[in-house]
Symmetry: D2
Subunit: 287 residues, 4 copies
C-alpha cells in the first residue's frame, strides 16, 4: 500500500517513521525540506516537494500539521493534497483542529470521491515515538474500517466516534477536562508547599483515591521541581482551548473555568512559558 | 486492647465495627443513643452515655464526628474524652477538620500526657464499609507508630505526614485537587453532550491519557445519567472547602478556581443538591 | 457637503437623520431597501442601491453596520464604498469592530488617497436618537480635524485617540470595564434581595460613594424589577467581548474576569436573553 | 448631651473630634492610651481608661473599632460598654462588622433597656476628616430618630435601612459592588496600557457613559501611575469580603466573581500590598 505523510513535526516525524518501518511505501512532505530529507535518511522511503506530489500516487494520505490554516494550506491550497488524490482513496487528518474544518474537508473529499477522517491524537511526543497514540476518529464508518490497519500501526487505542468532526470534538472534551484539572492540581500543590508538606509524600497518600489523575501521577514530580521544559506546550494548549471555546459558541456549552484558566495560561505565556508544559499553571502561583 | 470509638455516623459506624470484629474490646459513644444501641446489637461490644465514660478505660480513643465544633464538644467539652483519659493513652481524630483544632487538641493532649493524631480519611462510605480507607496522619511519629496496628484494621493506606495538623493539611490538598478537577470534568461532559457525542464512547477514548482522573473513571456514568443520589455530599464538600480557604488565609496560597467552584457548589445547594455527590457540578450546567 | 451613510440600523437610522436635518445632502444605503425608503420618507435626502452608488459622489462616507464581516462587505466587497470613492474624500466607520479591520481599512484607504477614521460610538439607541453620542476616533489627526464638523452633529463628546485602530481599542476598554462592573453589581443586588433589603433604599444609600457606577444609577431599578427588554443587547456585548478577548491575544493583557463573565453571558443567551440588556447577568443569579 | 466614643483609629479619631467641636461633651476611650491623650490634647474633652468608664455617664456611646472580635471586646467584654450603660441610652456601632454581631448586640442592649444601631460608614478617611460620611443604619427606627442629630454632625448622608443588621448588610452590598467593578477596571486599564493608549485620554472619553464609576473617576490617575499608598487598604477589604462571603452562606447568594477577586486580593497581599488601596488589583496584572 502506498502512503503519503504530510507534516513531519514533533508528532508527524516519528508517526511516518512507524509506517515505513511497518513495510508501507511512504512518501513524506514537509514544508521545510531539510526535515523531509532527514526523515528519508533515517527511515528510507521518499519525499516529495509539494503535498500534491506526495498525494498523487497514494492510497492513503495522512496529515499532521499545526492548525486550521496550515491544514487548509496543505489540503485545499494550491499544490494541496485533495486535488491530486485519486477517487476511492483516503485522507486522514491528525492535526488538532476545529470540527468545522473537519466537516469542510469531509465535504470537499466526498465531492471528489475521497474518504475523509478527522483523527486527532493524544499521547504526546512520547506516544508518537512509541507508536502508542490514542486516535479519535470522525467521519464515515466505512472510511474508518478501511484506515484501521494503517492507523493501528502507531495506535494504542483507535476509536470511531461518529460523523465528520466527532474526532475533533472528542479531543476538545479531552482538553477541557485537562484545563480545570491542572489548575486544581496547581492550586493544591502550591497550597501543599506553603503548608510545609512534602509534596512527594502527599501525592503518595492521595493518589489512589478521589483526587487522583493522570496529571497527578505523571506531573507532580516535575511540578514540585518547578521543571516545565518538556511535555505539551502552553502555546499548543491555548490553540486547542481557543478551538474549544469557539465550538462552545456553536453548541451553547458554558465553560467558565476553562475560559478563566485559558487567561491564566496567557499569564504563563507572558512569563516566558510559551513552550512550557501545561502543568506550568503552578508557576503562576509560585511567583 | 481497649478501644473507645466516638461518633457512629456513616463513616464511624462501620469503622468501629471493623475494630470489634478484629477482636478489640470496643466501647462506642454516639450522641443519638439509638445508633449506639443498634451498633452493639450488630457487633457486640459496649456503649457509653458520654464521651468521657467511653474514654475512661480505653487505651486508644478514636473520634469521627462532623466538624470543628462537634470535635471540640466531644473532646474538650464537659463530659469530653480528654479529661477522662489516662496518661500514656492515645487520642486519634478521623474527622475532616481544621489544622488549627488539630494543633489545639495536640497541645491539650500533650499537657495531659496523652498522644494525639489528626487522622482524616478518604475513601468514602464504601471505603469505611470495606475497611479500605486512606488515612493521613499528623502528630508525633511515636504516636503514629503506636496507633498503626489499630488503624491498619480499616486502612488500605496509612501514612504519617508530619507534625500535628499535617493529616488535615494533606486532606485539604486532596479536596483542592477535586474541586477544580470536577468542574473541568463537568464542563467537558456538558460540552460532549451538547456536541452530540456519546459520553460513554468519549470516556472510553480519553480515559487512558492526560485527561484521566479517578472522578472520570468512577463518576462519568452517573454524571451522564444525571444521577447524584450517592457519594460525597456537596454540604460536606463545602465544609471542607471552607477549611481549605481558611487555612489558605494563613499560608498565603491563592485558590482562585477553588473559591469559584465553591460558589458554584453553593448554587448546587440552592438547586436542592445539598446531599448530592460532588460530581453534581454538572447539574448546574445542564439546567 | 455631500454625505453618504451606510447602514440604517438602530443606530445608523437616527444618526443619518441628524445629518440630513442639519442641512447636509445625505444619500443613504441599507441592505434591506425598505428601511432606506422609510428613511427618505421621514427625512428627505436620497437612497442608493449599493454602497458604491451612495459613496461615488460623497465628500464623506459614514458607515454603521454590525461587525467585521459586514464592514468588509460594504467597504471592500464588490459594490463596496472604497473603490467608488474619490481621492481626497473621507471614510468614517461607526461600527464596533476589531482594531485589525480598522488598520486594514486605513491602509486600503490610504493607498487610494482617502482618509479613514475608526469611530465607534457609545451612548446607545438613546444617544443616537438625541444626537448625544460619545465618539472615539482613531486614524490620522488631519482626517479627524476634517470630519469634526460632521461628527459633531450627533456627538456629545468627540475625541481623537491616536492612530488607526485607537477608536476601537478605546471602545474595547469601555466594554471591559462594563463586564466586571455589571457582574459585581448583579452579585450585589442579588445579595441585597436575599438579605431582605429594599434595593431602592440600598442604592440611595450607596450611590454617592465608592460603589457608584453609571450602571448602578441607570439600571438598578430595571434590574430590581427583573426587566431586561431594553438597552444594549447581550448578543452585541458578546460580539464586543470577543473582539476584546481577540485583541488581548495580541497585546498580552490577561482578562480573567472578562473571560469568565463572557461565559456567564452565554448562559444568559441560553436562558433566552440574547436581546436582553447587559444588566441581565442578574437574571442568571435570580434563577 | 454626654457622648462616649470608643476607638480612635483612622476613622474614629476625627469622627470623635467633630462631635467635640460641635459642642457635645465627649469622653473617648482608646486601647492604646497615648492616642486618647493626643485626642484630648487636640480637641479637649476627656478620656477614660476603660470602655465601661467612658460609657457609664454617657447618653450615647459610639464605637469604631476593627472587627467583630474587637467589637465584642469593647462592648460585651469585661469593662465593656454595655454593662456600664444606663437604661434609655443609646449604643451606636460604626465598625464594619457582621450582621450577626449586630443582631447579638441589639439583643443584649434590648435586654438592658438600651437602644442599639449598627451604623457602618463609607467615605473613607477623607470622609471622616471632612465629616462627610455616608452612614447606613440598622436597628429600631426610634433609636435611629434619637441618634440622628448626633450622627448628622459627621454625615453627608444618613439612612435607616431596616431592623438590626441592615446597616451592615447595606455596607456588604457596597463592598460586593466594588470588588467586581475594580477588577473590571483593572483589566481595562491594563489592556489600555498594553494597547498603547493614553489612559488619561481614554478615561476622558469613556467616563461619561456606561463604563463610568466612582472608582474610574477617582482612581484612574493613581492606578495609571502605579501609586497605591493611600485609600482603603486591601487588608480591610478582605476583612469586609470575608464578612460578605460569610453572610452569603446564610442567605444563599452566589458570589462567584467576588470570591474570585477576593483570592486576587490575597495575591496582592502576597506582593506586599496589605496596606495598598483596593485599586491595587491592577498591580497583579502589571507584574
Ligand atoms: N506535540 C504534542 O505533544 C501533541 C501535538 N498534537 C497536535 O498535533 C499537531 C502537530 O503538532 P507537532 O507535531 O507537535 O507540531 P510541530 O510544530 O512540531 O510541527 C508542525 C508541522 O506542521 C507543518 N506546517 C505548519 N504549517 C504549515 C503550512 N502552512 N504548510 C505546510 N506545513 C506546515 C510544519 O512544517 P515545518 O517543519 O516546515 O515548520 C511541521 O511539519 C498540532 O495540531 C498539535 O496540536 C496533538 C497531541 C500531542
Ligand atoms: N445598539 C446599540 O445600543 C449600540 C450599538 N453599537 C454598535 O453599532 C453597530 C450597529 O448597531 P445597531 O445599529 O444596533 O445594529 P442593527 O442590527 O440595528 O443594524 C445593523 C445594520 O447593519 C446592516 N448590515 C449588517 N450586515 C450587513 C451586510 N453584510 N451588508 C450590508 N449591510 C449590513 C443592517 O442592514 P439590514 O437593515 O439590511 O439588516 C443594518 O442597517 C454595531 O457594531 C453595534 O455593536 C454601538 C453602541 C450602541
Ligand atoms: N479606614 C477606612 O477608610 C474605612 C474604615 N472603615 C471601617 O471602620 C473600622 C475602623 O477602621 P479604621 O479606623 O481605619 O481602623 P484603625 O485600625 O485605624 O483603628 C482601629 C481602632 O480599633 C481599636 N481596637 C481594635 N481592636 C481593639 C480591641 N480588641 N479592643 C479595643 N480597641 C480595639 C484600635 O485601638 P488601638 O489604637 O489601641 O489599636 C483603634 O482605635 C473598621 O471596621 C473599618 O473596616 C469603614 C470605612 C472606611
Amino acid at each position: 500500500m502506498k502512503v503519503a505523510f504530510i507534516g513531519l513535526g514533533v508528532m508527524g516525524y516519528p508517526m511516518a517513521g512507524h509506517l515505513q518501518r511497518a513495510g508501507l511505501a511512504v512518501t513524506v512532505y514537509n514544508r521545510t525540506i531539510a526535515k523531509a530529507q532527514a526523515w528519508v535518511a533515517e527511515y528510507g522511503g521518499a519525499f516529495a516537494e509539494t503535498p500534491a506530489a506526495a498525494a498523487a500516487t497514494a492510497d492513503i494520505v495522512l496529515m499532521c500539521v499545526g492548525n486550521d490554516d496550515d491544514l487548509r494550506a496543505v489540503s485545499l491550497g494550491s499544490d494541496g493534497a485533495v486535488a491530486a488524490m485519486r477517487q476511492g482513496t483516503l485522507l486522514v487528518d491528525h492535526t488538532t483542529a476545529s470540527a468545522e474544518i473537519a466537516r469542510e474537508l469531509h465535504a470537499s473529499c466526498a465531492a471528489a470521491g475521497i474518504g475523509f477522517l478527522d483523527a486527532p491524537v493524544s499521547g504526546g511526543e512520547q506516544g508518537a515515538l512509541n507508536g502508542q497514540l490514542t486516535i479519535m476518529c470522525g467521519g464515515d464508518e466505512s472510511a474508518f474500517t478501511e484506515a484501521r490497519s494503517v492507523l493501528d500501526i502507531y495506535a494504542k487505542q483507535l476509536r470511531w466516534m461518529g460523523p465528520a468532526g466527532s474526532g475533533q470534538l472528542t479531543k476538545m472534551v479531552n482538553q477541557i477536562c485537562i484545563a480545570g484539572l491542572l489548575q486544581g492540581l496547581s492550586e493544591a500543590l502550591n497550597f501543599a508547599t506553603r503548608a510545609g508538606l512534602d509534596v512527594e509524600e502527599v501525592v503518595a497518600a492521595i493518589s489512589q483515591g478521589a483526587a487522583q489523575s493522570w496529571q497527578m501521577d505523571n506531573r507532580h514530580a516535575t511540578m514540585a521541581a518547578g521543571s516545565y521544559e518538556h511535555g505539551f506546550a502552553v502555546d499548543w494548549m491555548r490553540k486547542d482551548l481557543a478551538i474549544c471555546l469557539g465550538e462552545a459558541e456553536r453548541n451553547g456549552a458554558s465553560l467558565p473555568v476553562t475560559a478563566l484558566v485559558d487567561q491564566f495560561y496567557k499569564e504563563v505565556q507572558q512569563m516566558g512559558g510559551s513552550r512550557w508544559d501545561t502543568s506550568s499553571l503552578l508557576a503562576r502561583l509560585d511567583k
